[in-house]
């Protein structure tokens, strides 16, 4: 009888311990699937230089791609363990909703209706984009308002399509908008002379100008007509996965603010007296374990991919062919909009 009691008590204790663990860490089907599979499946843009672009060897690079690599480093310890799935404007939401990818990191604008009706969550902002136009220099247009009567090519179903239509209608400008299924088709038609202007985000335009027949004959209008914040997207449910996606992005930005780079990360982890740096890099606090990751999650991400600023310079900034100023995408400390909650 006593043996039964002891066994029963042991079973009860075991159940209690495992329940305590379960309470601490809610199940994350997405994370479990990634660990079982051994790689992260990341939905990216079909091909947008600076953001997500595959070279002729099939190696992906870009700001959105870097984020996926950092996430893979944080989750699996290896930035190389990402399978990139190129998605068109039309495919991106169904591919995420149906579970074919773990997240999207593909230059898509965060909007209210997408958040409210598509079963999607936006986990922060990795690029503040403004929509503008590319026109031929010979058209003599300085701002979007000079495009009265022009014909504009755009990708169908993008936020740019509606933004442009609204913007011109509000100002009583008679502009015809021709909607193509893909960005590439739209810009090819612009290049062929079908349209006077092509519209997209300033980052996308900077990358796509290089693909035109005579890039120097075209000019990108400097004043944006909209604000299009972009960042990683997850589907509803699986809060713990959303937590990871959000805090890896925060971690990359925080690393830049705290002065942690891929070069000094070992030294910082060993010697830094700043406890926020130590918590970020897993030297104290056990923050990784709270999400079901190893404690050097952000150490791996920064060591292998770099902080946000390093990634920006390499992909779209001065170290890249796009040569985009930091602008709004600068840290809040330096007059930009990038801000993260503290690692506390």
């Amino acid at each position: 009888m006593t043996t039964f009691r002891i066994l029963g008590a042991a079973a009860f204790l075991a159940a209690g311990v495992s329940m305590a663990q379960a309470q601490q860490l809610a199940p994350s089907p997405t994370l479990d699937a990634i660990k079982a599979r051994g790689n992260l499946e990341c939905g990216v843009h079909l091909g947008l230089p600076g953001f997500s672009f595959a070279n002729d060897k099939g190696e992906w690079s870009g700001l959105d791609v870097d984020y996926c690599k950092a996430l893979a480093a944080a989750v699996l310890g290896d930035a190389g363990k990402v399978k990139f799935t190129p998605t068109s404007v039309q495919q991106r939401w169904p591919i995420l909703q149906s579970g074919q990818v773990d997240l999207l990191s593909r230059n898509s604008t965060i909007t209210f209706s997408r958040n409210a009706t598509l079963g999607l969550n936006f986990q922060g902002i990795n690029f503040y984009e403004g929509q503008t136009f590319i026109v031929r220099k010979s058209a003599n247009a300085k701002t979007a308002a000079d495009l009265d009567g022009a014909s504009v090519c755009v990708a169908a179903g993008s936020t740019e399509e509606k933004n442009a239509a609204d913007w011109f209608r509000e100002r009583n400008l008679k502009t015809t908008i021709t909607n193509f299924q893909k960005n590439d088709d739209a810009i090819a038609a612009y290049d062929a002379g079908r349209c006077d202007a092509y519209t997209a985000g300033v980052g996308a335009l900077a990358g796509q100008r290089a693909k035109l027949k005579n890039p120097e004959e075209h000019v990108i209008l400097t004043q944006p007509i909209s604000n299009d914040p972009q960042g990683p997207v997850t589907r509803w449910g699986d809060e713990r996965w959303q937590l990871i996606v959000r805090w890896v992005l925060n971690g990359m930005i925080a690393a830049e603010a705290l002065g942690v780079t891929s070069k000094n990360v070992d030294e910082m982890k060993a010697n830094s007296k700043n406890s926020e740096v130590r918590r970020l890099l897993g030297a104290e606090g056990g923050f990784g374990a709270m999400m079901g990751l190893s404690n050097d999650w952000m150490y791996n991400a920064i060591k292998q991919v770099g902080n946000y600023g390093e990634s920006y310079e390499r992909t779209v900034g001065m170290g890249s062919p796009l040569k985009l100023e930091r602008g709004q995408n600068q840290l809040w400390l330096k007059g930009g909009l990038l801000f993260t909650p503290p690692f506390q």
Binding site: G119, A156, D196
Partner: protein, 387 residues
Amino acid sequence: MSSFLSFINDKRVRDWFYQIALILLLVGLTVFFVRNASENMVKAGIASGFDFLWRTSGIEVPFVLTGYTQSDDIFALFWVGVANTMLVTVIAIVLATVLGFAIGIARLSSHWLLSTIAGAYIEFVRNIPLLFFVLFWYFGVIAALPQPRQSIGLFGVAFLNNRGLTMPLPDAPGNFRWAALAIFASWLGYWLASAWARRRKDRTGQDAPLLAIGIGLIVVVPALAIAWASLATRWDIPVLRGFNYRGGFVVIPEFVALLAALVTYTAGFIAEIVRGGIESVARGQTEAASALGLRPGRTLSLVVIPQALRVMTPPLTNQYLNVLKNSSFGAAIAYPDVVSLFMGSALNNTGQAIEIIAMTLAVYLVIGLAVSALMNWYNARIALVTR
């Protein structure tokens, strides 16, 4: 027991049983899929239902036949797509039939060069994917046409450039409605006159002066009506301002390119159907007709083609349905058809994939069934009547 056995061995009973079982299976499968999809959508937090149709669309469309503007709702956008799909389909079917008949008959010509060219065309067209035709015509058309400022003017009122053909549009269409009515009435008159002439010829053997009546009613009266309507209306004539011509009606290059691609592509297939139909008519029919003294042209139109049509109609129906489906290739070149506008723009703005895809499928199904119903009616009408 034996009555039960004979009951289940009754062929009619078993036929009914299989019919009912099949229906139950289909209904069950449909219910299963619909419920499964809707449960999954609720779980994933995706809104469902058709309420999105009444949201403001906000999408601008460059080629509209219905009076739609971007402040209308998404249902109105849907109709713009349906109308554009039907427009290009109907015109493409008519033109492809005309071109296909011409090529098919040329293929059978005894003139060696003509039949070789027709044969080469057919082989070329049949072995090239339609998408190449669409892109060829689109980028071909655009590359060949000048920029707006160097437009080709047609009589100073219509202008052709790489943004399309801009034509004057009447300010008030009232006069044109009267003209259309007059044209319809005169064509009806010709039809009655020819029916009367046929009856009279059957009775008395006398020819009526149909040619003169025909020219009068089919050509002169409509020409006069159109001339009157044009002169009595104020025209909105396009003028070059800024980037492009303003005013008038624009036939966009996407429409022209898609239409040209559908017509040239489908004509190749129709030509083969025409050839097969004509060759199926027994040689003795032609020989009998020439023995009666009919010239080759009349032999073809009075003896061969009417018999060939019976063979041609079912495969022609298939080609017409293909034209309808292939019109969705317009999405590749930004022709605003139902696929491009509704399954492209509207789907991306609302994310209601299941509803939108179902509605688009229904559009193709309804138009397709209407086309085949029409062709079946025609087939029944021309069927050989045996007495």
